[in-house]
């Protein structure tokens, strides 16, 4: 094994071609995830989390395309690989769980077959072996009576069970990285906690790294060791999970943290309104000059409106992109 990180994103830009011109949907994205590490990507809807994930697995399609930078998996640049090699990575070395667990399973195929297909596709197993492995995979995600459940169709399972099946499919081939894009938004809170716990435990057991994507900073910080906060197509702060709550550095992150209900606080009990960040997220074609957060930022000065802030390394560890960071 080489010293290279599992995955390394360097100065990634993703272009959106709206027919007449190209705009950068995300730019200057850099981060790395080591083997077995847990890394979170947090940001408001539309800030570019999902398309960043799609870029990692080589699945950006028109009108989106990689406009610059590099993505390296075990030191090899993904864009340099042939389409076939990229496909071999997907589902096998890098797996992904989806935003909508309800529709991510084929309605006319028994769930066992959908799990087994992964072994046939990526591991060259016979269907007989694959079906046996599918039962084991279902058992590993704690689905009761897996020998019977493999014959069930998705509509016969609850939302939580379906998401367990999705996890079983994603982890079937023992991937090195699991990308979980809002894996639990469609589930109710107790089921959500169970699923997250299951995913975290399974990945920890097998040494699978997690890239978790969500708009929910609390959820991500709970699962991941490090968190990157995105705003309008850029990473504005990257910190250890504990640090980001204790001492958020970027004004946007400070706003996010302030808007989280704290256990036992008046807001959590519903007595006061949470502090929200005023203003709206700018549209992709209409990003402000300089720091993109400047129209909503209380600390904004002239330089914020003209110059894009560079990335500063914090003494306490971590990175931040702000002219006047704490």
């Amino acid at each position: 094994m080489t010293g290279a990180p599992l995955i390394e994103v360097e100065d990634l830009r993703i272009d959106l071609d709206d027919g007449s011109r190209r705009v950068a949907a995300v730019e200057g994205i850099s981060f790395r995830i080591d083997r077995g590490e847990t890394f979170g990507l947090v940001g408001e809807s539309g800030c570019g989390k999902s398309i960043t994930a799609l870029a990692l697995i080589g699945l950006l399609r028109q009108p989106l395309s990689i406009g610059g930078g590099a993505i390296r998996f075990e030191g090899r640049e993904i864009q340099q690989l042939s389409a076939g090699r990229q496909r071999e990575l997907r589902g096998n070395r890098i797996a992904m769980i989806f935003q909508e667990p309800m529709t991510a399973l084929n309605p006319v195929s028994p769930v066992g077959r959908q799990i087994a297909e992964m072994f046939v596709l990526h591991k060259g197993k016979s269907w007989r072996e694959a079906n046996q492995l599918a039962v084991e995979a279902l058992a590993s995600v704690r689905v009761p009576a897996p020998e019977r459940r493999v014959k069930d169709y998705p509509h016969q399972l609850s939302g939580g069970m379906r998401q367990r099946v999705m996890i079983a499919i994603a982890l079937a081939c023992g991937p090195d990285l699991l990308i979980a894009d809002e894996p639990t938004t469609a589930l109710d809170v107790t089921v959500q906690a169970e699923i997250i716990e299951l995913m975290r435990n399974l990945c920890a057991e097998r040494g699978t790294a997690i890239l978790m994507i969500s708009h929910d900073l609390g959820l991500v910080a709970n699962v991941c060791r490090r968190v990157a906060v995105m705003y309008a197509g850029r990473i504005v702060e990257e910190r250890g999970s504990a640090d980001i709550f204790r001492a958020p550095s970027h004004p946007y992150t400070q706003g996010l943290v302030a808007s989280l209900p704290r256990l036992g606080s008046r807001a959590a009990l519903g007595r006061t309104r949470l502090k929200e960040i005023a203003g709206v997220v700018p549209a992709i074609t209409n990003f402000p000059h300089g720091c993109r957060f400047n129209p909503r930022c209380a600390h904004a000065t002239d330089i914020c409106r003209t110059t894009v802030p560079g990335t500063d390394v914090l003494e306490a560890g971590g990175l931040v992109r702000c002219h006047h960071h704490a």
């Binding site: 699945l59 071999e88 989806f98 309800m102 309605p107 499919i169």
Partner: protein
């Protein structure tokens, strides 16, 4: 689940036609070709000759029974060819899009613009009469509806979560098309196929009537009608019974198609569950 009358009646008629065709050697009273006997030519229907006899004294009942073989073979096989062509073209066009979609679309429009029977006639004229030519001519000219439906389904299914999930899991295009798209569009394809079989049976009759079908003396319902043309006033049973056989088979297939549409239609299916 409530089974609908059209499904039962249609299914029964179609099953009956298939059984008759399969069991022809046991059901027929005489050999449909060899047992000619001018002594009992043009007998009207009776206890001995259920459907009467023709001008060569051949038993019409036996010929109708054997005729089911040709009509159903042509109906089923040519429609299968059509379905395979239509699904392969439509599914891939809808999934891949781009220039391939344009090509398939153009081809489909051409096929829709030319009446398929005329097209089949042209092919028959080139290939000459016979069962194989019939299968080719009818199998290559009636796939445009299947193609349209397959393409439209592929277009809408393409954006479904499970199709995208399959891409993310490393499925290749062929695997996505066969495991994710095809099974989810099978309902309408089967319905169109059933209705198409009915029209293929009719087309076979029409082509055989024009003398382009199966070579006499082997019976097909269409060629029997054709032979009976001159005696329609003197010996009407010669045309009535093969005509009835065509009518009932096509009616059965149409009812079956309607019935299948009722139970396979995604909207009525979601209403049930």
């Amino acid at each position: 689940m409530k089974l609908r009358a059209n499904l039962i009646i249609g299914g029964a008629l179609f099953a009956l036609a298939i059984l008759v065709g399969l069991l022809a050697p046991w059901l027929a009273h005489t050999d449909p070709v060899m047992d000619a006997n001018l002594l009992n030519a043009e007998e009207p229907p009776s206890w001995t000759w259920w459907f009467g006899t023709d001008d060569q004294g051949r038993d019409i009942y036996s010929r109708v029974v054997y005729g089911a073989r040709v009509s159903l073979t042509v109906g089923i096989v040519s429609q299968l060819i059509n379905s395979v062509i239509g699904v392969a073209l439509g599914l891939s066009a809808g999934y891949w899009g781009g220039w391939w979609d344009d090509v398939v679309n153009g081809l489909t429009n051409v096929m829709l613009a030319i009446p398929s029977l005329i097209f089949a006639l042209a092919i028959m004229a080139v290939l000459g009469p016979g069962l194989t030519s019939l299968l080719i001519a009818l199998g290559l000219t009636n796939w445009s509806f299947t193609c349209r439906i397959a393409r439209a389904s592929a277009l809408s299914l393409r954006s479904q979560g499970y199709v995208q999930a399959a891409t993310v899991l490393g499925y290749g295009d062929l695997r996505i098309m066969t495991t994710q798209l095809l099974p989810n569009m099978l309902g309408p394809i089967v319905v169109i196929g059933t209705l198409g079989m009915g029209s293929a049976v009719l087309s076979e009759a029409a082509l055989s009537f024009l003398g382009l079908g199966v070579r006499p003396p082997f019976p097909s319902w269409g060629s029997m009608l054709s032979d009976a043309r001159d005696q329609i006033t003197t010996a009407p049973w010669l045309s009535v019974f093969p005509g009835l056989a065509i009518f009932l088979t096509v009616l059965g297939l149409n009812l079956l198609g309607d019935g299948l549409r009722d139970i396979l239609d995604p909207q009525s299916r979601s209403r049930r569950t």
